[in-house]
Symmetry: C2
Subunit: 356 residues, 2 copies
């Protein structure tokens, strides 16, 4: 038998740790689970566990992200919603169908996620931004299905509020409420005429002429789950996990957007980000046609390599840089609050490096 | 200065412990709070703390129950809702107005409640039943405001699902969603025509003729927060915290119902019950006219004295006994699943002790 390469061994150990951790978290819950027991179940050393995951919480997020990937890998709904009401109804049906039953032996696995996220500012702030991003993407999908409706992000937020309540009550009070009524309530939201307008950012930094070449590495789009090219014309937003909701500025003002998600704590926060994005992908696949998905590629830039190609050498959760790119060149660059809006809307000064 | 009686000292120490515990939980969160530090802050011994509360969780529930009492003690809404939509809107407004802001120094106090409840079957099952009871009472209120609507418990459940989601997201993602939209969504629920019928219990135990006298002690109605007499004619349901939702059987079939809530774990579960009931009272006071409240007295029978007067000498969370009482006598008695329905609907046999 051929010996495994180092990378193959690492990959195999990672899979063994994830499988062992899933068992341990399901049986004992997050708080009582022990890294030592996980290592034992995986027939690996403690060190081998820690070489793959910085700690118990990162491992927990990774286990749940793998669950979300399995959910998202199911085939798409052949008959997706074609109106906002239909799409929200299908989204809600997919959500509630996923809720564990009280009798489900796996019901325990996910219940500690929110308490763990809430217990620490480190996870709390990024999660809040990831939820906003969920609402932005779902809102944009609804708007594409009904272009005359105006902004529907508030409708998406109301639906997500209802659905998070359903998840919480499914855990706290199994059997409470009728899932079908949750679906009905979500379907009814678009007709309520909730007031919603997009407020342009009031203070916008100056976008500066740049001129460097734009030659990003090959990337993987975490929203559509496929390799993607991001060297075309458009706006590239490099956003830390505390600034993710600023992506809407770019999405409102530019036709083609690449979102590069960066963090100062990749060990814990990349698994959390992957979890939220896989969940969103799985739900969108089951609720709306692919043609309604927004024109955005979402790159989870774990190593910071894509950010570096965009000239952002040090990344943190507060990173907020946006570029306007054209024909392989960076025409404009903006930094700080409002950067995405600035990069998308500012006039490109003459002689700014755009090849003529 | 006159020396305090033993009862006065106990009352004063209890208040000091609660105030100290509130500070400690607010500053450090439930998990990191320490009984020793609470005792120190209260200038009492550990023993004095434990003589009032069996443990940290009981103390936490009691602190939150005291908060809920303060909320419920505010004056009632002078202009309550007069239709189901208005009442649900007002209920939702009162709910979201109560949510802490992210900047609120007290925001931390309540966030550990649900994780703590979920972490243990002991609290988890009673909480599920308390939530169902919330929905039953709110549903009955809505039905009184619109007698032709049929059962509205499902509508109440959908509203509570939305509102629990809003609470959860206020903690996890401050600023997510627009509270006004949550209110609008709740207002819209009655018009959705959610299907809802009351299923009579399929298997009903035999109600047996009794004949003992019915002379209950003085009690305190925890729903309306006032002393109450419960020696009138009607149905008395003695329900453990795992069987609370069976109260609907009595409420659907009898005009006048007394609910005696009992538990095998009063130290922790009485504060939890008080918390949920005070919350419900505060929200109802702000959302609907007193005349729409259901005809039920809710007695939290901490010592089991009222249950004993009803002939139930050993109480547990599974207790389910119902009586039909008339003119100071117990005419019928039923036990087990369906007991409330049986006591409310069975024919009283001739010569069963009813004075003629």
């Amino acid at each position: 038998m051929a010996r495994l390469t180092r990378a193959q061994t690492q990959e195999r150990n990672r899979a063994k740790v994830l499988a062992a951790a899933r068992e341990e978290f399901t049986e004992r819950g997050f708080r009582d689970a022990k890294i030592d027991v996980i290592a034992e179940r995986a027939e690996l050393t403690r060190g081998a566990v820690y070489s793959n995951f910085p700690g118990k919480r990162a491992l927990y997020f990774a286990v749940l992200a793998a669950e979300a990937e399995r959910f998202a890998a199911q085939p798409p709904e052949p008959d997706p919603g074609l109106t906002p009401a239909e799409a929200l109804g299908a989204f809600a049906r997919a959500w509630v169908a996923r809720l564990p039953l009280a009798t489900d032996p796996d019901a325990r696995l996910g219940v500690d996620l929110l308490p763990e996220i809430l217990a620490d500012e480190l996870t709390h702030r990024p999660y809040a931004q990831l939820l906003r991003f969920d609402a932005i993407v779902l809102g944009l999908v609804l708007e594409r299905l009904s272009p005359s409706s105006g902004r529907l992000v508030r409708v998406a937020e109301a639906a997500l509020t209802m659905l998070h309540g359903a998840s919480q009550l499914a855990a706290a009070a199994p059997g409470f409420g009728e899932p079908f009524n949750v679906v009905r309530a979500c379907e009814a939201l678009p007709a309520l005429g909730l007031s919603d307008t997009w407020p342009e950012p009031p203070i916008v930094p100056q976008a500066k002429a740049a001129g460097e070449t734009w030659s990003p590495p090959e990337v993987f789009d975490a929203l559509r789950e496929r390799p993607a090219r991001i060297d075309g014309d458009g706006v590239v937003a490099v956003l830390g996990l505390h600034r993710l909701s600023a992506a809407e500025e770019a999405l409102r003002a530019a036709k083609d957007v690449t979102l590069v998600v960066v963090t100062g704590q990749p060990g814990e926060l990349v698994p959390l980000t992957n979890l939220v994005l896989a969940d969103l992908r799985g739900l969108l696949k089951r609720s709306c046609p692919h043609s309604a998905w927004p024109d955005v590629r979402v790159i989870v830039d774990e190593t910071g390599a894509v950010a570096a190609a965009a000239g952002v050498s040090a990344v943190s959760d507060a990173t907020e840089t946006a570029l306007r790119v054209h024909s392989g060149h960076i025409l404009l660059r903006a930094e700080g609050f409002g950067a995405c809006h600035a990069a998308a809307t500012s006039t490109v000064p003459a002689g700014s490096g755009e090849p003529r």
